[in-house]
Symmetry: C4
Subunit: 192 residues, 4 copies
């Protein structure tokens, strides 16, 4: 089986997630600048989640370039990733609605953590199928970046119980780490 339909379906789901998050920001009743102030935390949260979904799309795009054929295992690992990403609109809405209070910030980070675990599983399963000497196998040999991210997300969840803003800052740091698309696959492709 070719990868085209899996990529198209994933693109569809990611495009919808990134777009419906804006529906969580309800239009304010008033028409002054002041009426936008209570929306600011929601907007900041939306921006962070937009960047996260964009990062996942970017890396998904890169990852699947290295996949030759899909099978049932890969399909389900991909759907598992999409499941956790599909919860972003909920956690984004809740965190923005509650102005970055403890539990919503911790839950936001927990879903980020689960998505990164799902990403790790997907990459591992693809490597097993493609072989350790495949392009993807060499590119993701250690995958330190994903492991560090998982550790940081877990730290962010814990720290949000001390002070939510620290959790947020950690999530922003991870996003910054991933902002630059993964050049490992590009390099691996070039070196071949």
């Amino acid at each position: 089986m070719k990868t085209s339909r899996t990529e198209a379906f994933s693109d569809g789901v990611l495009a919808i997630i990134i777009t419906i998050m804006i529906l969580e920001i309800k239009v304010p009743l008033g028409n002054t600048l002041k009426d936008l102030v209570p929306i600011l935390p929601k907007f900041m949260t939306y921006l962070l989640s937009f960047i996260y979904v964009a990062i996942y799309w970017n890396n998904h795009h890169h990852l699947w370039q290295a996949v030759g054929n899909v099978n049932g295992k890969i399909l389900w690992a991909n759907l598992h990733l999409l499941f956790w990403l599909s919860l972003f609109p909920f956690t984004t809405g809740w965190m923005g609605e509650n102005h970055f209070s403890t539990i919503p910030v911790a839950l936001y980070g927990f879903i980020l953590l689960m998505a990164s675990i799902a990403w790790y599983i997907l990459a591992r399963i693809i490597i097993i199928e493609e072989g350790e000497n495949s392009k993807i196998g060499r590119a993701y040999k250690k995958d330190t970046k994903t492991k560090v991210s998982m550790l940081l997300y877990a730290t962010g969840v814990v720290m949000s119980f001390v002070q939510p803003i620290i959790g947020i800052i950690i999530y922003i740091i991870v996003a910054a780490l991933w902002f630059i698309p993964d050049r490992r696959i590009e390099n691996s492709l070039k070196n071949q």
Copy 2:
């Protein structure tokens, strides 16, 4: 006519169904863990429906691999399937909202039943067009799995009037049966 646009349209509809179901889970007003408790049944229902739509997408993906050309009949049989699947967000929302009470559980199962009937009709029409000796014809010769599922859905609907939780358990069992993507077509393709 080629199958590409039908697959793309179906991917679009399935991607939207799987994603907008999360919109039925409204962000709670409070910001404590307690505020998430009333959402738990909705979340469990969402998870079950996500798995069901994922199963349909997976099998749809497999089924259409075996289709050479589409005609009006196949297009409408496919749209008929999408119609029943499009009702999932409604029955998912209602069942989650009402904490698995009788009628919502029965309706949830009824829509599952109708979707499986629509799936059966689609497969039959494709077999008639492709011929009984085609890849798809041999792969779905008996199609016991779909028939057993239909029987189980009907049983689930009836049992939900006795005790809704039995209905739910039956729906979970059917989902588990289908969790593994259909290898019949893969095998049929290999054996050729």
Copy 3:
């Protein structure tokens, strides 16, 4: 310019329209069969609109098979059609909400009329670009079906002021007329 991106974009818009209409049917508060009764008119309206969008997708699919290249004029004629179709969720929701009362039924028909005019314009512009002797030119030479539909929609709008149910029946008749995908292009392709 090739037609692939225009088809993909149209598929996306049509897939979203057909799916978000279900969001207009709010989950009822109660959990009995009685609670579903007030939803019945909404459900019937949803069914009718689903069939209409499905018909447009089907015919759009057929129409674009005959298009070689797109230019600015064709792109805008296509977007004009998508605009009127994008209003379906609104008129569907309003007619269902108001149990088929006069003005909502008339507006529903008016938007159907505008969509069919947009369809007619799109087909004409494509014929002008492709030439009257092209596949599409010969297939849609007279296009009596579209003209009859436009007349019936207009009649439905007027009749809904006498008795809304007559308007509804006329809209159902037109849907029935189009239920069978347009074989003219298929035939024209075969005869070549």
Copy 4:
């Protein structure tokens, strides 16, 4: 990396933006023509935003025809554009809800301005990657149209503090300027 997935993802996001804006127009409670009157400003705003998203899709379609390969920079410049476009449903809903009062009209124009800046950046980055003598480089050499649009958007924002309707008129004028798809790339392609 090929451009197909970036185009598909952008098509998905644009298709969703153009379609969910209709969800901001809530179905009125009454069933008379009078009940539609308060919706008129929302409908006019929807029409304007529909045309704007359609223009962006059209030009995006044209622009990417000229792109050979994508890299990380281009991907992020494209996502940056999609971000500002994703705010259209919010500003459209707010402006329509408040019958074109000052701040909503100014914010609507500000988002239009940011989207046009994002468009300019995207085109520049593509030109740098493709080379100034490439098709796209020659087609967008001066790009006076985008620069004039940016100036007009800024003027519209300022003028909406004097009189909102002037801001609206300026936004309509810019839309009219872009209504005709960009023939520069088409010409550049032909001349080669």
